[in-house]
């Protein structure tokens, strides 16, 4: 691996969330593949660490074709031994991508990495569950796991937050030194592009035939997304602007929803007198979403709090005018005050929509602000910022990386014995530890050992 001018020997990225059942397609999984693509494009010495062949195949299908052959490697002692030998004392980083992904048992910082004493930087998406525990940490086990993540986070060398807001709140909630957090932002998938460069058909499946003009909002059933208030605000917009059967716009609410959430939104729409001009699409494909955004008069993001606010940049990348909340990370992502609204004030949301739809000069200014945001938030820039952050910060803790010793798990009947454990401090009589066989998997992870050998 070469340093690519940064002085870094390597950036080993935890790529296991690529096939996470709930986060693989959106959220963390998409952030992961975007970041890896940016690092490859930058020519950074990046390695994507996977644990299964399925993950490796998914990574191969998403990484740029220019990625060197050895970019995708299995998380295993042998991989670390090679990387540490090649580093020859230069900084070698492990980027933890699932520190805050449920549950902790996913092993966000493998023992293997601790034993090898790599410098660790965690990507920090948000700490919203810590800020609103009464809403997000209802289950006792969720509270326990959240309580365990904070001391784990404090042992890390650095955090790479996706916004300054995410960095500030993570420092507060996790008691992590703010001086060791850098904001690296996020980027947008290249599929989000204006109709001029990526023409797509009208998404007829999710849009009634009589709707020819619309305002889009990518929302959520989470109360934080503020969908109820947006629908009420739509009712305050002058009627002539929101009558799709008479040349006005429809409000198109895009997201997967439960039957209960849909019933609640429809009740709010009826109460606000707008049930004939609001469309709830349910789940959409990526292409349907892009097609909706490309033809939107406006995109609205009235969320009360976001760690970044990717839908804002996705709409911007499609060439759409965007208005968003003036709170949390949203004001960083779209930093023109003219595009901001107060998400706690229904009238403010309505005014922002009305002005964008009626004031042509203002609409042009919103499109220009969105274009600047789309230019700013790219995966290449995120990768650049990541490399700069790790180079500038350096490891927090003393001690050089050391190659993990060769470990073998011997399985016999109902026991498993791990031989050759390289604990500098735990010098057992024969250097071995015996476990019940059920410890294989939940405790002794496949990536912790070089080999698993059945005996007898």
């Amino acid at each position: 691996m070469t340093a690519g001018g940064s002085g870094l020997a390597g950036i080993l990225v935890d790529a296991r969330p690529v096939d996470h059942p709930t986060a693989g397609q959106r959220g963390i999984g998409r952030y992961l593949t975007g970041l890896l693509g940016g690092l490859v494009e930058l020519g950074a010495p990046v390695v994507a660490l996977h644990a299964t062949d399925v993950q490796a195949e998914l990574l191969r299908s998403t990484l740029p074709p220019t990625a060197p052959d050895d970019t995708i490697r299995r998380l295993a002692p042998a991989t670390l031994r090679e990387a540490i030998a090649a580093a020859d004392g230069r900084p070698l980083w492990y980027v933890a991508t699932q520190l805050l992904l449920h549950p902790v048992a996913l092993d966000p910082v493998p023992s293997l990495i601790t034993r090898a004493r790599l410098a660790i930087a965690a990507v920090m998406y948000d700490v919203i569950p810590y800020r609103y525990p009464e809403r997000y940490l209802v289950h006792p086990n969720a509270r326990t796991q959240a309580a365990l993540r904070a001391p784990l986070a404090r042992t890390l060398d650095a955090m790479l937050s996706i916004s300054e807001f995410a960095g500030d709140t993570a420092a507060d909630e996790l008691s992590f030194p703010r001086s060791r957090i850098r904001s690296i932002g996020a980027g947008v998938d290249s599929r989000f592009a204006p109709a001029g460069s990526r023409p797509l058909p009208r998404p007829d499946r999710v849009l009634p035939a009589h709707v020819t003009r619309w305002v889009t909002s990518v929302c959520g059933i989470d109360e934080r997304k503020n969908t109820d208030r947006l629908v009420r605000a739509w009712g305050l917009v002058p009627a002539a602007l929101r009558q799709p059967r008479r040349g006005g716009c429809a409000l198109v609410i895009v997201n997967a929803h439960t039957p209960e959430a849909l019933a609640q939104w429809k009740a709010v729409a009826r109460d606000a007198g707008v049930d004939d001009s609001v469309v709830f699409t349910g789940a959409v494909t990526d292409d349907e979403l892009v097609a909706l955004l490309q033809r939107s008069e406006l995109s609205v993001m009235p969320s009360l709090e976001e760690g970044f606010g990717l839908p804002v940049v996705e709409a911007a990348a499609c060439g759409t005018a965007v208005v968003c909340s003036s709170t949390s990370a949203l004001r960083e992502v779209l930093d023109d005050p003219a595009a901001h609204l107060d998400p706690t004030d229904t009238a403010s949301i309505a005014r922002a929509i009305e002005r964008a739809l009626t004031d042509q000069q203002h609409h042009v200014a919103l499109v220009a602000a969105a274009a600047r945001a789309a230019d700013r938030w790219t995966w290449r820039r995120t990768a650049d910022d990541l490399v700069a952050a790790l180079t500038e910060l350096g490891p927090r803790w003393p001690g050089r990386a050391r190659p993990p010793s060769h470990l073998v798990a011997q399985v016999e009947d109902d026991r498993v014995q791990v031989l050759g454990r390289d604990y500098a401090l735990a010098e057992g009589p024969d250097g071995s530890v015996t476990w019940p066989v059920g410890a294989l998997g939940p405790w002794i992870k496949p990536w912790d050992v070089d080999q698993t050998v059945p005996l007898g």
Partner: protein, 92 residues
């Protein structure tokens, strides 16, 4: 990290953590077996105890989750001890 600790204390803690890990792994085996037994009972006599058993099932699962959380707790301790050792060996 561990104010006032000495290298020998850290080493002693390290042995204790290793022992705790194997104890917890054994406990996990027991909770899994208990869960299976309760699940089987639930199927066998559901018609006779529609209220009580699902509640018991929930508590058994709670114990299993607690043991899983303990796995994570031990990993955190493992990491803290490793950092303590690194700091001890490389005083500022």
């Amino acid at each position: 990290m561990l104010p006032g600790s000495t290298a020998s204390e850290v080493r002693r803690l390290r042995f204790a953590v290793d022992a705790m890990q194997t104890e917890l792994a054994a406990l996990r085996e027991v909770t899994l077996a208990t869960n299976h037994a309760v699940m089987a009972l639930n199927h066998d006599i559901r018609s006779g105890a529609p209220e009580a058993l699902p509640l018991f099932l929930g508590w058994a699962d709670r114990v299993r989750l607690d043991v899983d959380a303990a796995i994570a707790a031990v990993q955190v301790i493992e990491r803290q001890l490793d950092l303590a050792d690194r700091v001890d060996r490389n005083p500022a």
